[in-house]
Structure formats: C-alpha cells, structure tokens
C-alpha cells in the first residue's frame, strides 16, 4: 500500500516537473511569473520529498521487521500464552484470537520501526503493553464477557504492578543520592504517584540509569528536603533520558515453546 502511494506521488511530481520544463517562457515575463513558478516548483519538491520519505519509511519498516520481527513474535507468543492461562479458551478460540491479533502485532512492529529509539514524552515505550492492547479486541469478540473481563483485569493489575515498581525504584534512586528519611520516602512516593509521567516507565533506565534522573515535579519535592538535600538535588542534572527499545533485555534470547493442547483440557464456552 505504501509503495503504491509513493508511486502515485512520484508520478504527480513528475507531471508537475514535465509541465514546467515544457513551457517556454520569454525572459521579460520571467519576473512576473516568478511567484507562481516557485509555487509549482515548491509543490513538486514537496511531492518528491514525500514520495521519497514513503519509500524510505517502507524500507525502514521492512528492515526493522526482518531484524526484530522474530523477537516481537516471541513477545506475542508469550502474551498469547498468558491470555490462555487467564481466560482458558478452547483450542479453536485460541487460534482465532491468535490469527485476529496478528494485524495488531504488525501495527506495533510498524510503530516501533518508525519511532526507533526516539519516544516523545509520555509515550508508551513497552511493546508488551501495546501487544496486550492489540489482543484485547479479538479476546472480547471471541470469548465470553466474563473471560474477557478476567484478561482485562489481569492487564490492569500488571500495569499497576509496573507503575508500583517504577515508583519504588525512582524513590530508591532519589534516596541513594539524598539519604531520605522514611517519611520523606513515603511523601515523595505520593508526589510521584500523583504526578505520574509515562516517560518514567523505562525498565532499562531503572536498571542501568543510576546516574540519570528524569524530570520530576521539583516544586513539590523541594519543600520536603533539608537545605543540604536541596543543594545536592539542585546539582543533579535531570532530563528525559531515552534508552530506546531493547528486546534483548526483555527476551534474554530465549524462546517460548509452542502451545500444548490436551483433549481433556477444561474449556469455557462463550
């Protein structure tokens, strides 16, 4: 689809350029016609740029898919297994959900291919969360409302656990540099929870980013600190550090096995 759109744009740009080359304009008219000429040239250039960008985009997505597609599929496979564990579908239901979720998986891969390592503030950078989101719709249309609700609830609990670990480890990071009291740790944890920013949710940042601190609600944290703590805290650079996508950290190079189905397995019907 992207290729055909790129072709269309290339053709349109070509038509514009041919038209401009074919027109013989006397030199005395050149000045008068300069403005519309520039407009057409600019338009043709925009068309060419956009067409080139589309071709490049397509190539980037293909290259990314070749390189990381298997890892994303691995994530998808483990997420499907989790869904099975929670909702207990029949084999047929499972296979239908897996097939319908493929489109969502491709969308996630495309999104990561385009973003690369650059995420804007607040953007979800965890592929598993996005893959789970993509599975929700086929789960809802294939399984009973009760089964779908169970899966949804587990995803919410996973998200809550993830948020809790980010808060805990952020406070631990601050504690390491400011030697907080027990009360300060609790107060800062509440402040961070009430001013949550999705961009804090980078596991690599919590694992390896010992010396990096994200932007935090300084105005709310500052009054809780002693003068010595304030002086140290002020000197610590804070910013949006991006570690990007690291599927190796997620998968550690290991593959989940194929789903095993037992004929005696209890299944729930829709």
């Amino acid at each position: 689809m992207m290729r055909s759109r790129a072709n269309l744009l290339f053709r349109a740009a070509g038509v514009v350029w041919l038209a401009t080359l074919a027109t013989d304009v006397p030199s005395e008219r050149a000045c008068a016609d300069e403005a519309p000429a520039k407009m057409v040239q600019g338009l043709a250039q925009q068309l060419l740029d956009r067409a080139r960008a589309l071709v490049q985009d397509d190539a980037v997505v293909q290259q990314f898919e070749q390189q990381f597609g298997p890892q994303f599929r691995q994530l998808y496979k483990t997420e499907l297994h989790f869904m099975r564990l929670v909702t207990r579908p029949t084999k047929q239901q499972f296979e239908k959900i897996a097939a319908e979720g493929e489109a969502g998986l491709k969308g996630v891969i495309r999104r990561f291919a385009r973003n690369g390592a650059a995420y804007s503030a607040g953007e979800q950078a965890d592929p598993r969360t996005l893959i789970a989101d993509a599975l929700l719709q086929p789960v809802r249309t294939t399984l009973s409302p009760e089964q779908a609700a169970r899966y949804q609830k587990e995803l919410e609990q996973r998200a809550a656990a993830r948020k809790r670990v980010v808060l805990l480890d952020l406070v631990a990071k601050i504690d390491k540099v400011l030697a907080l009291t027990t009360e300060q740790r609790a107060q800062i944890s509440t402040i961070l929870e009430n001013n949550w920013d999705d961009s804090w949710d980078h596991i690599q940042f919590l694992m390896y980013g010992g010396q990096y601190f994200p932007r935090m609600p300084e105005a709310k944290i500052d009054p809780l600190l002693t003068e010595t703590q304030k002086a140290v805290w002020r000197d610590i650079p804070k910013g949006n550090v991006r570690f990007g996508l690291n599927l190796q950290v997620m998968l550690q190079g290991f593959e989940a096995g194929d789903e095993v189905w037992d004929d005696d397995q209890p299944a729930e019907k829709k």
Partner: protein, 298 residues
C-alpha cells in the same frame, strides 16, 4: 497506568492527497519557467584519520563520568558526606564531638578514593600515548567508576565502621532502625524490579507475581552495596540459586521453561558480583543436595 490507543497509520495521508490535487491544479493554470539553477555538489572532503592521544581531561571524564573532573567530584562527595552526617544526626542527635569524628572518618573515605584515583592516574601518565596500553588500564579505571556509582559511604566505609566507636548504644540502636528500614526498602525495590524484568520474558498472573515477590523477599538477602544494576544482578543470582522445589510450583510448564532458562544465565555472575562487592564469603555456603539450585537442574 494509562495505556494510549494504538497509533493510527500515517497521519499525513490526507496531506498527500491534498498535495497531489494541488499539483495537478497548478499544472493546469500556471505556465512557468521552472529551469531552476542547479548547484554542482561540492566534492566531499574526507577527514584525515588522526590517532587519538588521550588527554588528562579524557582520563578524568572516564573516571568521574557525569562529574567530568576531580574538583566537581570532590565537591559532590563532600555534599554526600554532609548528607550522611545530617541523616545520622537526625536519627541520633549527635554531639559536636561525635559530628567531628564522623566527618573525619568520611573525609578519610574521600581521601582513600582520591589516593586510588591518583595511583591509577600515574599509571595512565606512563601509557597515555599508547592506545593498546590505555585499553589495559581500563581494568583499573572500572573499579573507580563502580565505587563512585555505588557511593563511598556504604557498609565497608570508614564512616559507617566508625559509628560503632563513636555512637552510644542507644544512638547505635536508633541508627540501626533507620539503616534496616532503608535496606528493606531498597531490597523491596530491587526484588520488584527483578520480577518485572523476569516478566518481560514471560508475563505472570497477579497472584503469581505476588507469590514470587513474597518468596524473593523471604529467601534472598538485601544487597550489601548500592548500585542499581549490581543489586538487580545480585537478586537474580540468588533467585537462580533457590531450590527448584520452591520456585517451580509458582509457574506453569510453559512459563517455567522460559523462566528457568532466564535464571540459568545468571549462574555465571559470581565473579562480577564479587568484583562489585555484592558477594562476600558469607554467601559461599556449600549447596546441600536437597537444596540444589533451580538453574543448575536445567
């Protein structure tokens, strides 16, 4: 946590169609001389490859990283010392004499660090023009970086060791309470981080997650030293050494297959943990036959 909707494909699609329409319209109504002058591209200049000679500044940046140089690092370490003495004072209500003793001990830790730095720097001076030998000196720079990252005032520091001789029994007990609370807090943070990382390979149900966190809190020791990556690896190393009988029942077969493989790779972390000071001799208890580590059975 809010989860954004999946990104819609190509938001610029409408713009492209508008551009095509405009272009065709423009061709119909405008006659132009579009022979724009084209500039010849300037030949690319290939930069000469220069063999880098490492400067003293470069050495300082390797050692002090975000502090960049010894002066800034010293200032930061002095501030950290002030923080630690403040913290102990807050809990124990120190006398001026006690404060002075603790400050002296802390300054001893800072001096000890800079003595190590000077020793490595002297070695660097001898080899800084030889790239190959500078590579070798990394073995000496790395422990300095680790020390700075994990902090100078940990359990092995003069500051903490001097507490026993400086504080009264009552003060020591009060300090012990806040130290234990901090250790437990950091232990919890690292355990939950380890479980989150494990879950990236294979997600767990909420009940499984809670059980695993409880098991880890009860069966692993808090790290001896600060430093997030080393703490995380220390917990994973301990997790890999837990008896399979305790760990396996938490997972189903497919999960266990992935989790046990993940844990298996942490077996080889021992030298790293020893170097970073997380693992001491007391962790070297011989494995009993019944307590054969989970990872070893794979």
């Amino acid at each position: 946590m809010s989860r954004p909707m999946l990104h819609r494909s190509l938001p610029a699609e409408g713009l492209e169609w508008a551009l095509v329409a405009l272009a065709l319209l423009a061709v119909c109504v405008v006659g132009v001389d579009a022979q724009a002058p084209r500039k010849a591209a300037a030949p690319a200049v290939q930069p000469a490859v220069v063999q880098p000679a490492f400067s003293d500044d470069q050495f300082d940046q390797w050692v002090f990283q975000q502090d960049r140089n010894a002066s800034v690092a010293r200032q930061r370490l002095n501030s950290r010392l002030a923080l630690h003495v403040d913290e102990i004072d807050h809990a124990c209500k120190l006398t001026d004499e006690q404060k002075k003793k603790l400050q002296l001990a802390g300054r001893g830790d800072i001096k000890h660090f800079f003595d190590r730095y000077e020793t490595v720097k002297q070695k660097f001076q001898l080899v800084k023009h030889d790239q190959q030998k500078v590579q070798e000196i990394w073995q000496a720079i790395s422990p300095l970086q680790t020390t700075l990252q994990s902090g100078l005032f940990g359990v092995d520091s003069l500051l903490i060791k001097s507490l026993r001789h400086t504080l009264t029994d009552d003060q020591l007990a009060r300090y012990g309470v806040i130290a234990r609370e901090r250790r437990a807090f950091h232990h919890r943070a690292t355990v939950e981080l380890a479980v989150t990382v494990l879950e990236q390979g294979m997600p767990l149900r909420d009940a499984q997650r809670r059980e695993l966190i409880t098991l880890l809190m009860n069966q692993t020791k808090p790290p001896r030293k600060s430093g997030q990556a080393a703490q995380y690896y220390f917990i994973m190393y301990q997790l890999g050494r837990l008896p399979e009988e305790k760990l396996k029942p938490l997972f189903d077969n497919a999960q266990w297959k992935v989790v046990s493989r993940q844990l298996n790779q942490f077996k080889g972390l021992e030298p790293f943990l020893r170097q970073s000071g997380q693992l001491s001799d007391e962790e070297d208890e011989p494995n009993k036959a019944a307590d054969r580590p989970a990872a070893a059975k794979q």
